[in-house]
């Protein structure tokens, strides 16, 4: 725990970060920036797990473990997503979501 910092302050910051990510996910039109917004969301959730573990159950390990698995899954997700994005770029010469709509129907 950080001396002099309440749990709520950290939670408010991660909440704001999460919803900034949600806003970016909804507004952005480029596939890579959408991926960045989802990284923001995952990152804020990871901070939340660590903070709850640290402040409320300091002897347990579950929160830290969840954060490690979140980081690993984010890495796998980013690798596969970027491979797909590069493939889409090769085929359509753009990664704008509005122009890549062939699989929509």
């Amino acid at each position: 725990m950080i001396q002099g910092i309440e749990l709520q302050h950290i939670l408010i910051i991660t909440t704001l970060m999460f919803f900034v990510g949600v806003y970016g996910f909804l507004v952005r039109r480029n596939l890579i920036t959408i991926l960045m917004a989802s990284e923001l969301i995952l990152n804020s959730v990871g901070i939340n797990f660590v903070v709850f573990n640290k402040y409320l159950y300091p002897t347990a390990m579950q929160g830290y473990m969840f954060t490690i698995f979140i980081i690993a899954i984010a890495a796998a997700e980013a690798a596969v997503a970027i491979a797909i994005i590069i493939n889409v770029y090769r085929r359509y010469k753009t990664i704008n979501v509005e122009n890549v709509s062939e699989m929509k129907y």
């Binding site: 725990m1 309440e6 900034v20 952005r28 480029n30 990152n43 409320l56 698995f69 990664i95």
Partner: protein, 168 residues
């Protein structure tokens, strides 16, 4: 000292995450994302979870950001600026985000956390993480650990297969 440091990190996280989703140049957005991730690692150091901070720095700030910057360089023109999102799209998204944040913050402020705070005894060191990862007894994580190693292998093979050029 800790308090000042925490608020500096919090300001970096908030400002840079807003810039990540609003910057009009994609490479700048990636750089701001890197600042957010590094500030998060600083937050983990401040919480004295050193192993997690090191993992965050290595995997997120070292790996994922480099991957994103590579793909930006492969797929976009550096000088290209996005046009601003149309207000008919950005205003509903902003409203949804603000409403969600307001609901979450209201419920966080209402809940009584102070009576549940536990006394701080130890910070986990890397030895405890190692024991937890390879322990198959109570509170052990050997099964998720193995599953995630299979997942990473599968993701690696899948990424190579997808990005490979078709030979025709």
């Amino acid at each position: 000292m800790n308090v000042i440091m925490f608020y500096i990190l919090a300001a970096v996280i908030l400002v840079c995450s807003v810039l990540t989703v609003t910057s009009r140049k994609i490479l700048r957005a990636a750089t701001y994302l890197m600042f957010v991730l590094i500030a998060t690692a600083g937050l983990y150091f401040l919480l004295q979870v050193n192993f997690l901070a090191a993992v965050q720095l290595m995997v997120y700030a070292g790996g994922i950001v480099v991957l994103i910057i590579f793909s930006v360089l492969l797929t976009s023109h550096i000088e290209h600026q996005f046009e601003l999102a149309a207000p008919s799209k950005s205003i509903p998204a902003a409203l949804a985000a603000i409403a969600g944040a307001a609901i979450c913050i209201a419920s966080i402020l209402q809940f009584d956390f102070t009576s549940r705070l536990a006394e701080q005894t130890t910070s986990p060191d890397i030895r405890q993480f190692g024991h937890a990862f390879l322990n198959y007894g109570d509170g052990g994580y050997v099964l998720p650990f193995e599953v995630i190693s299979i997942l990473l292998l599968a993701a690696m093979v899948a990424a190579i297969m997808i990005a490979k050029k078709n030979k025709q």
